[in-house]
């Protein structure tokens, strides 16, 4: 299995939609073949269309707020005492997280295809919040599927979704988290694909959804590359990009522009959710060597039992609480372009405490996983190494959990 250079990773799949011959694909019911094919035709045409790209860029700049900040974390660097630690503050984006990029592009596509309704899944509530915002902006009706457990633990985002006029459909099946929300959303699409567009909230799902999401979030690394060149005059000799990985949308977008650099120069480190340190359950299929299986229409490494039943996950961060992972990350793992590891719930909380004490940013529980690994590795790295952590979400949505676990008030 090999990664090609000079071809965007999202386009490095075979005619059946598999990356590396085995990740991804389209394991979907016959009913979805046509709407998926329609979407493929539309997207493949528009992604080469200059007018469409400038339309996207206009929305990213004027509405999403591009570029998001790239800042040095001086106090944290001093506190850790090793590599220089920087952050790409993607949570600056309108709505407070990277999910806005994918949501915007999906709404643009829905408008072009003449659909009036858009449905989407959400875990932490960010994908739902952003889709509801974008739907409102583009005049689309919006339905958000969300696990009942997540509705309880991510109330601020639930309120935001409702405030944008979207309907929230609580999902009570299975573990009542993201995995069930995605299933229910896909089932809804099966029954309503003639009138409704679907937005999958991460780089998961049937091939085309992986591609659209990866294409959209790549905005992060496009901005970052320019900012790095502005700051350092060149791409530093030792650069390490840390990002949390649930479905994998923010990390893929954070890395995409740097794909062709040698990994000795630009290393990618993906941090999965290890779950509570005392629990055997986790949401880290890449770190803990889960087997390949099919989830939500795509082949990927996924937590499952020997029978092929998808296993329940456990993580303090709803956004990472997913048993599978993007086929793109499976591909990056097996081609050894990226390295994956996990942080526990406790690690993430500890990292949040340190970062929010030292700096004026407050990463949500998802990027706190990435900060945890970045901090512990930066200690051992030389001072001329540049560590960048994608702070892809804001902790406001986690304030209930943070108060309970750390006694902190946001």
């Amino acid at each position: 299995m090999k990664l090609k250079k000079k071809i965007s990773v999202i386009d490095q799949h075979d005619k059946f939609g598999f990356w590396g011959g085995k990740f991804g694909g389209n394991f979907v019911p016959e009913t979805l073949k046509k709407p998926i094919n329609d979407l493929e035709l539309l997207f493949n045409k528009l992604k080469k269309d200059r007018k469409f790209i400038s339309e996207r860029d206009r929305f990213f700049k004027n509405w999403v707020g591009a570029p998001t900040r790239f800042i040095k974390l001086n106090n944290l660097t001093e506190h850790v005492g090793g590599a220089e630690i920087w952050s790409k503050v993607v949570s600056d984006a309108n709505g407070g997280a990277h999910k806005i990029y994918n949501a915007t592009v999906h709404c643009l596509l829905a408008k072009k295809s003449g659909k009036r309704i858009i449905c989407g899944d959400t875990g932490a509530g960010y994908a739902g919040k952003m889709l509801s915002m974008a739907a409102k902006k583009f005049g689309l009706k919006c339905k958000i599927f969300m696990g009942a457990k997540d509705i309880k633990r991510q109330q601020p985002n639930v309120k935001a979704i409702k405030g944008n006029g979207a309907e929230i459909i609580p999902v009570y099946s299975g573990s009542q988290t993201l995995v069930d929300a995605v299933s229910e959303c896909m089932r809804f699409w099966v029954a309503n694909c003639d009138t409704t567009a679907m937005c999958v909230g991460s780089t998961v799902g049937p091939n085309i959804f992986v591609k659209i999401c990866g294409w959209s979030t790549s905005q992060i690394s496009r901005e970052l590359k320019i900012q790095i060149l502005d700051e350092f005059g060149k791409i530093p000799k030792r650069l390490k990009l840390y990002n949390c990985v649930g479905g994998g949308s923010s990390s893929f977008g954070f890395w995409n522009e740097f794909m062709d650099y040698d990994k000795k120069q630009v290393e990618f480190i993906g941090v999965e959710a290890g779950g509570p340190s005392k629990s055997k359950k986790h949401a880290a299929p890449l770190t803990y060597g889960s087997k390949i299986g099919i989830l939500h229409g795509a082949a990927q490494y996924v937590n499952q039992n020997s029978e092929g039943q998808i296993e329940e996950t456990e993580s303090i961060s709803a956004g990472l609480d997913y048993p599978g992972v993007s086929p793109l990350h499976c591909f990056l793992k097996d081609t050894k372009r990226a390295r994956y590891t996990a942080a526990s719930d406790e690690d993430a909380l500890k990292a949040f405490k340190i970062v929010s004490k030292c700096e004026s940013i407050r990463p949500s529980l998802e990027p706190s996983h990435a900060f945890s690994v970045a901090i512990s590795e930066a200690k051992k790295l030389s001072k001329n190494t540049i560590v960048i952590v994608n702070s892809c979400g804001d902790a406001y949505k986690d304030r209930k959990i943070l108060k309970k676990k750390l006694g902190l008030k946001l």
Binding site: V28, P29, E30, T31, G308
Partner: protein, 266 residues
């Protein structure tokens, strides 16, 4: 391919009626009961579809999900599904059985091992919900080599080009999904329209048996009588759930229900 499935269709045709296909989940509500339910059904049904349950189904509605979760909770594994069919075939050796489920279960069991066990346990056909054409070409060939009928699905969204290609590569049976819906949805298309679409499929190749499924209940079944076969699934799963809730015996309740369904298409 003349196998038990074709024979069942031929028999129904002789009696000028559609074949009745039932769907139940293996191990719902227990391993023992699901065998008993199959036996009770087989007096009236021409072909038994047996579901192997998956906990992340993307095409099933609430009724089949409930049945599947019940079966998984009772510890049903793929090898138990084979055992249930094997035991069923001991007494009902000529009744065709079609297994239905999602591809991950087959993958984890091992594709060849799965198909060999199908063969060993006299399974006549397979429906894999999330393995559409053309992705299913290799797997369908593996089935053919073992004389197992791979049932292709067709939906109202299937384009004309696909339709021709799928029918050409299908084995002896095609499954037409009546409407845009997960299983168990309310019939939102008129039976007339469904039969019209069905006839389009038949015109391409009248020799292939075509069954209609999704949204078929006691209320709607008689209006679709002109098809080669009709599938009832969610309505049966619903009956199992409601008899359990009421403390009734699901075996007799489901048996009675399928008897009624059969009477409506005679």
């Amino acid at each position: 391919m003349i196998n038990a499935i074709s024979k069942a269709f031929n028999l129904a045709k002789k009696e000028s009626r559609p074949a009745l296909l039932t769907y139940t989940v293996a191990g719902d509500n227990t391993k023992k009961n699901s065998l008993k339910i199959l036996k009770a059904i087989s007096k009236y049904a021409d072909i038994c579809e047996v579901g192997f349950p998956h906990n992340t189904p993307i095409a099933d509605g609430g009724q089949i999900q409930t049945s599947s979760f019940r079966a998984i909770k009772n510890g049903v594994k793929t090898k138990d599904v084979f055992k249930i069919v094997k035991d069923f075939k001991l007494s009902e050796f000529s009744k065709p059985v079609i297994l239905m489920g999602y591809f991950n279960m087959v993958l984890q069991y091992g594709q060849n091992k799965f198909l060999n066990d199908c063969k060993k346990n006299k399974i006549d056909g397979l429906i894999i919900v999330d393995l559409p054409w053309p992705e299913n070409k290799k797997f369908a060939n593996k089935c053919k080599k073992r004389s197992i009928s791979f049932v292709q699905l067709i939906s109202p969204t299937t384009s004309k080009n696909r339709l021709n290609a799928i029918i050409k590569e299908s084995h002896n049976t095609i499954y037409y999904i009546s409407m845009l819906s997960t299983t168990g949805g309310k019939l939102k298309v008129s039976p007339k329209k469904i039969i019209l679409n069905y006839k389009k499929i038949k015109r391409i190749n009248p020799k292939k048996n075509c069954v209609i499924g999704f949204g078929i209940t006691e209320k709607t079944i008689s209006k679709l009588k002109s098809a080669d076969g009709l599938v009832v699934g969610s309505a049966i799963c619903k009956e199992i759930t409601s008899s359990l809730n009421k403390g009734q015996n699901p075996v007799t309740k489901v048996g009675n229900m399928v008897k009624k369904l059969k009477n409506k298409i005679l």
